[in-house]
Symmetry: C2
Subunit: 209 residues, 2 copies
Amino acid sequence: MRYHKVPDETIRRLPKYLRCLLWLESQGERNVSSVGLAKLVGVNPWQIRKDFSYFGGFGKRGVGYAIETLATEMKKILRLNVVNKAALVGMGNLGRAVLAFSGLEKYGFEIVAAFENDPKKVGERTCGVVVEDVSKIRTLKDRGVYVGIIAVPRGVVQEVADDLLGAGVNGIVKFSPGYITVPKKVKVITIDIAMDFARLPYYMPRNLP
Amino acid sequence: MRYHKVPDETIRRLPKYLRCLLWLESQGERNVSSVGLAKLVGVNPWQIRKDFSYFGGFGKRGVGYAIETLATEMKKILRLNVVNKAALVGMGNLGRAVLAFSGLEKYGFEIVAAFENDPKKVGERTCGVVVEDVSKIRTLKDRGVYVGIIAVPRGVVQEVADDLLGAGVNGIVKFSPGYITVPKKVKVITIDIAMDFARLPYYMPRNLP
DNA sequence: TAATGTGAAACCGTTCACAGCG
DNA sequence: CGCTGTGAACGGTTTCACATTA
């Protein structure tokens, strides 16, 4: 199946598989079947087998998957097997939380720079990172940073994105609302907490009075 | 078209439409066409028209949509036209950020309670909410709270979810990793920042050395 | 006339059933 | 024999083209 395009939905699931594999590994497990992994992740076994099949199949028939090998393969596919240096722009509530969030290291991300507009925040040190003025975003060019994290108010999102792109960033995680235009080769992932909340009540049973 | 099932993907887009409509409204605009709204949201015009058609069509042919009316309809469909009281469990980095996040009020959410395990945090007051001990989750039953927000370490997620469900919660926003089992009628929305980051490098052009 | 609303076609992803293999 | 890997059927979503209507 090497010649088929891999569905985006498959790519969306791979990190979940990886997380569970890392957990199984930490529990001292060696092997897992598609059924076992499925229970952990919360999807169907055939979905897992199909997803893996896009990359050629990693299992042993009659046995299952070798956890360590599979985890390594997942990381390679997702390109998480190297350190991905990231720069954060915006030190508001959300920006600070992201900087303090330790869950990213496990997947190879390292936030090596933080930028702010507000002069009062520039110079402060948080989680080992010294906050710089936004005008310094251009200096990222020489720092091996290709991932940008945007957590600024909506009005300046496009501007910040353009600055990041100009500094060589080609992947963006955007916590701010608002659609931005970027070159086709640049990937933007939007995390929009309010939008996720906003579709919850639709699915909830009517709250009786 | 009232008798067709509405696609989940449509429901996922409605809040985005709503946000843009509210913004247009704040700019003093009265009407918008599917093309105009499409540009703002970043989707195709026919997608928007199709989405609206599931609910019967809100536009005037040859003119477009009345922004205020449409926004009101969106809110009604999403059930955001009433106050949704929510309870937060877990006052770590992420929990605090969510509590401080002001973007939820606009959509009718009000975080009226916060719970923590750690006795040192119990009693502190943040953003107008006094932190209570997790054992008090059961008291939610009488407080008109139907939305639970989980931001606790992975080991205790299921336990916290069960407590919330026992207290009458029937919609959960979960920031913690790990699959949880809940009754079918309960909706769980998972926001998993690390998983969103983890699929970014796959889509990024190769970082040359 | 300019924009909506909508069947039908095309596309994509999921599910199934079972062949293939260790 | 058990579990993986996969072509084919299925179902849901997007796209299209155009009839419709203020």
